[in-house]
Symmetry: C2
Subunit: 410 residues, 2 copies
């Protein structure tokens, strides 16, 4: 008999029939003798509906009050879900964020969980109840309602699993699990039976959005075993867990990509200490997240700096960079929105020589020019022209043998 | 500078524009220097929408979980309202039932307020904030969400006003106030500048539903001065307050009526102690509320008992009565759904002789037969054929001079 936390996303609880389907799935686990805690998101589309309603009262809406209205989305789902189970004669109790004692800081709209008092959940489990917890929401130290931001229900599930020392945290979604790459781009994409926390973090942050990234970091920190799987099938999905030898034997686990970034190049920057910092401090102050940064070797006391930012922030970034450029003196400021970032990820690359050269060779053989390169311990990213995105993904997927079905303990 | 609690019903906050209109009204009071607490209902139609959603999960829905989903209605309204005020630069804070510390018993769906800890509201008022409280909802001693039943927001407002010792509690609705009778039935109906708690209780329970009846009892108990007025005009409406000499000088304040009841007659009941009780105990056990009861004098050791019940409960009542009738022996059991109850209400009738005879004479002159009569200290009710309802109301309205415009301090 295990203690299992299951989280179901908005598409899994999109209407009463789907909620009933989820309830039957939970019931199956309960009948098998497991202790079950269920974390639910708002019904698909509900959060957007509430945001639009809020915007009619003033845009942007007040952050505290926006969290009050957004929290109703999950409140509706947990009550409907519990009603269904109770109508089936099952003992169950729904808990909202404040009732489940999910304490957060007071950063409305993007609050961080600072602690969970799981005693009420434990007490209800001891009574044999299925406990349903509203995802995405918490309460600050003085009782204000907070929300955790998009994808926050994943974090709720992992945090609850950590607080309960659950045996497993299952994240149910509308895909079968984590794939070697996006199946819409590469038909040969294979389901991964398992993936390490670090690989998942790299995959998620690179745009393969199956799991909310904060929840993965949380799971790693508290060693919560996560299973990502589909609400609409019986496939076991992907286990996200600590690294093991099996994973380390595979140099590359997946290919991720993003076309959401733009490139900014500043040429002829005086190569003196503190000059680069002035640009990036100014950009950071505007709350713009810089991803890749490359600076080449200096020539004649001047260097070129290239970096990427989210496309939506490009115009503001250029304004800031031009302003700083005037102060420190540069040659040119260039930008390019037509770029893509393609990355290979794998814990195995630590022990496998030649992974980078194989990547570059594969892209080169396909006639794809590499504009920027950035590497980390378990990831190599290349910036290329965006028109080559799909081609690059397929070429890399093939080059690292990712089109072979994976078998593993999962 | 006064402390004013204002309550706005569902039709007053039916959409974002109407919520903005309400906010501007509240703001006017605030700018005039008053301390303002606002109690809001769910947007018109929202509670029904949520109930229908709940029914899809199992009918009847689990009471605890139904309260969880219903509470979202007011949660949405208070947040939208507060967003609007904050967008206007006004300091305001919304409080849900549990945040406002509105404690109730655990009778889900019809909870009673057992206490309010007003310290948080007082603290926010001290900071110069407008405080917005979600109506209709509370929290039991272990933190479960409860709701107070239909019209519960009126009770919330009165209870908050009592806890704060507010100078005034204004109930805003879509009518101008309390009328001498229903203006849809009698065009000469006049707005009452004021009415006593007891008269209001009789008027409300008789079907003139402007205020939720529990809230009037609460207001009387705590001596909260209530003003019923329209959200959509500047008319001062009706003050509901303790009796005064001015009220006592008027024999009849209003004419109420109801066509929601049915009549049951049991003839030939053995006239022995305890027999009548057996019928009414059985009916009460089925949670059926009996209104009028009349028993005539016994003839040959047998009596006739007649009483009224809500129409929706008639069939169940007849089953019960037939069962008991078999056990004790009766002649006949008859029922009639085509009845109406017409009542005159007024604290002045205590000191005015001949009010009853004037009522009976007026009905008789109009050719209306009286089937049952019931009197209380400040009310006389007659049951008549329902086809005469409107005629009876107009005749009585005229007979007691209610068609003359009222003037009063209000």
């Amino acid at each position: 008999m295990a203690l299992i936390v299951q989280k179901y996303g908005g598409s899994s609880v999109a209407d009463p029939d789907k909620i009933a389907n989820v309830a039957n799935r939970v019931l199956k686990g309960y009948m098998d003798g497991h202790r079950m805690v269920v974390v639910l998101s708002a019904m698909q589309g509900e959060t957007d509906r509430l945001i639009n309603l809020a915007r009619e009262m003033g845009d942007p809406p007040d952050p505290r009050e926006l969290d009050v209205i957004l929290a109703t989305g999950e409140q509706v789902t947990v009550s409907l879900f519990s009603m269904f189970l109770k109508a089936e004669g099952v003992h169950t109790t729904s808990l909202l964020g404040h009732q489940a004692c999910i304490y957060t800081d007071k950063a409305y709209g993007r609050a961080r969980i600072v602690g969970i008092d799981a005693s009420r959940i434990k007490e209800l489990l001891k009574k044999g109840r299925i406990v349903t917890v509203a995802g995405f929401q918490g309460v600050d130290e003085v009782g204000n309602i907070t929300t955790l931001g998009r994808g926050g229900s994943d974090t709720t599930a992992v945090a609850v699993a950590a607080a309960l020392k659950a045996d497993l945290c299952e994240i149910y979604t509308d895909v079968e699990g984590v794939f070697t790459t996006d199946p819409r781009v590469c038909k040969q994409a294979q389901l991964l039976p398992k993936i390490s926390y670090d690989e998942m973090l790299e995959m998620a942050s690179l745009g393969a959005k199956v799991l909310e990234i904060r929840s993965v970091g949380f799971a790693k920190h508290y060693n919560v075993h996560l299973r990502v799987r589909s609400t609409f099938s019986e496939h076991p999905g992907t286990l996200v867990c600590p690294e093991d030898e099996e994973m380390e034997a595979i140099p590359v686990s997946g290919v991720a990509f993003s076309t959401q970034e733009a490139r900014v190049s500043i040429t002829g920057v005086p190569d003196r200490p503190g000059i680069a910092a002035r640009f990036f401090e100014a950009v950071a102050q505007a709350n713009i997240v810089v991803d890749l940064i490359i600076q080449n070797s200096s020539v004649d006391g001047r260097a070129d700096i290239t970096f990427t930012v989210p496309k939506g922030d490009l115009l503001r970034t250029l304004e800031i960079v031009q302003q700083v450029g005037k102060e420190v003196g540069t040659r040119e400021i260039l930008s390019d929105e037509h770029i893509a970032k393609v990355s290979i990820v794998g814990v195995g690359m630590r022990n496998n020589a030649g992974v980078a050269s194989r990547m570059f060779a594969a892209l080169s053989q396909a006639g794809i020019n590499i504009m920027m390169i950035s590497t980390s311990e378990i990831k190599i990213s290349c910036v290329i022209e965006d028109k080559f995105t799909e081609l690059a993904v397929r070429v890399l997927h093939d080059a690292f043998g990712l089109d072979q079905p994976r078998v593993g303990k999962g």
